[in-house]
């Protein structure tokens, strides 16, 4: 008798465990299907939108290109919009349209104020005030010095 009661209790327990397992699988499958459905619905209603676009603070990465793309998606939700062509200056440092040329006959001029200069690599670690302002020297001659400042 006691063996029969134990067997019945074990069967009941096993059946309950099985029901819990089936229920869990249905819950997982249902949640996944519900998530997919909601995601599909949102992407159809508001393509290209994101929570980030509602942020009040924008960083340097918020370029005009990004804003243009957002505006395009808002006005035309049916057709996916390609981002506009980026401004070349945002892509990288740009070389000159014409490279520097050598100067076969350098200008001869005294129009540039001259500071003491040494060919030694070691500079003098002393601050030197800039030359006083002056008006146009009117010499019309010569060249320009590019150097550190």
């Amino acid at each position: 008798m006691s063996t029969g009661r134990q067997s019945s209790a074990a069967l009941a327990r096993d059946a309950a465990i099985a029901r819990v397992g089936r229920t869990r699988r249905w819950v997982i499958a249902g949640a996944a299907a519900l998530t997919a459905g909601v995601a599909g619905l949102v992407s159809a209603v508001a393509p290209g939108r994101s929570l980030a676009s509602k942020s009040g603070v924008k960083t340097e990465a918020s370029t005009g290109a990004g804003r243009a793309a957002t505006g395009a998606s808002a006005s035309s939700s049916a057709v996916p919009q390609l981002p506009p062509v980026a401004n070349p200056s945002s892509l990288g440092l740009q070389g000159p349209s014409q490279p520097p040329q050598s100067v076969p006959n350098p200008p001869q001029t005294q129009s540039q104020p001259s500071a003491p200069q040494s060919s030694s690599p070691a500079p003098t670690p002393t601050p030197t005030p800039s030359p006083a302002p002056s008006s146009g020297d009117g010499s019309g001659g010569g060249g320009v010095v590019s150097g550190g400042s």
Binding site: E60, L93, P99, P129
Partner: protein
């Protein structure tokens, strides 16, 4: 050789500025424009002025400070420079400069380190601590951040001044702020003749090289200028963001030609900070460059002409002769 252009010198951004025009009759018009642009940038971007916009931003960490279009553009350019150089050109080096004693206009710096007291060295917070909102025209910095746009704002001002002066004067214009120069409008027939040296205050007889340029910009950064004494040794104004100290570079001077003075300045500043790695970087970007090592040898890369340089071309001693373009002649 005599040129048709007329020129004027003036004071700007704590250094010498030079304006040259291809039409002598347009000099006054161009000069007025340049002086206005200088005043606008000084009022917006000088950290040495208590009433500047950038001082207001530095004084309000954590707050979104409304700024005008000049500082907004200068900050945008500074952040672009940081992004393009992986942070080697960083606008948040202000506190590091101050800790090294560069806390006032350079002309006012005393040569005595004791006059500035001893300050602990400051780290560089990094450009990502800066928030820019172009739509609201605001800038916000994190606590402990002091902006310094010295690396890029002066070059941007040169680009703006040259473009606006050329438009107003109706002729070719060259504007040089402390040796960083921008060209706008038609150049003289033989191009603008430029002597590239270590120090923009030098005369034409200083060791260097003559080149001619017809458009774009040219910048030179050098550890040989804007130096001062500190308790721990000599410092200069080009800060390595990784250390917060003056960059200990293999290059004494870097000159780069680019489409604008800003791009050229970004490249030269990054070159000093990057050291040896800068040469292949410049080569890959096809930026004509003249790099002078601390031992006085010179490297011409990216299409920079090698003729007529007073300094010996880099050779023995661990330098990269292969970077000199073929057929360069020296």
């Amino acid at each position: 050789m005599r040129h048709a252009e007329e020129r004027a010198t003036l004071e700007a951004f704590g250094s010498t500025a030079l304006l040259a025009v291809t039409d002598a009759g347009a000099l006054a018009t161009a000069r007025a424009v340049v002086e206005r642009v200088v005043a606008e940038f000084d009022r917006a971007c000088s950290r040495f002025r208590a009433d500047s916009e950038i001082s207001a931003v530095n004084a309000a960490p954590g707050a979104a400070v409304h700024v005008g279009p000049v500082l907004l553009e200068a900050m945008t350019v500074a952040l672009r420079a940081a992004r393009l150089t992986g942070g080697d050109v960083d606008p948040t080096v202000g506190q590091a400069l101050i800790s090294l004693g560069y806390d006032r206009d350079f002309a006012e710096l005393s040569d005595s380190p004791s006059s500035r007291g001893t300050r602990p060295l400051a780290s560089v917070p990094g450009w990502r601590t800066v928030s820019l909102d172009p739509e609201r025209s605001t800038i916000r910095v994190a606590g402990g951040v002091t902006l310094d746009l010295g690396a890029t704002a002066k070059a941007l001002a040169a680009d703006r001044a040259a473009a606006e002066a050329s438009a107003a004067a109706g002729c070719g214009v060259l504007v040089s702020f402390g040796g960083d120069l921008a060209i706008a409008g038609p150049a003289p027939a033989e191009g603008w003749q430029i002597r590239v040296t270590d120090d923009h205050r030098s005369g034409f007889d200083a060791p260097g090289q003559w080149i001619s340029l017809s458009s774009g910009g040219l910048a030179t950064s050098s550890t040989a200028v804007r130096r001062w004494r500190t308790e721990t040794g000599t410092a200069h104004h080009l800060i390595d963001p990784l250390t917060g100290r003056s960059a200990d570079s293999v290059w004494r001077t870097a000159s780069v030609s680019a489409s604008s003075c800003v791009d050229a300045n970004i490249a030269t500043t990054a070159t000093i900070v990057r050291g040896e790695k800068a040469a292949p970087w410049l080569e890959a970007l096809a930026l004509p460059s003249r790099l002078v090592r601390t031992n006085g040898t010179v490297l011409h890369i990216g299409g920079w002409p090698s003729e007529g340089d007073d300094l010996p071309v880099a050779g023995a001693g661990g330098t990269a002769l292969t970077l000199v373009p073929e057929g360069s002649g020296s």
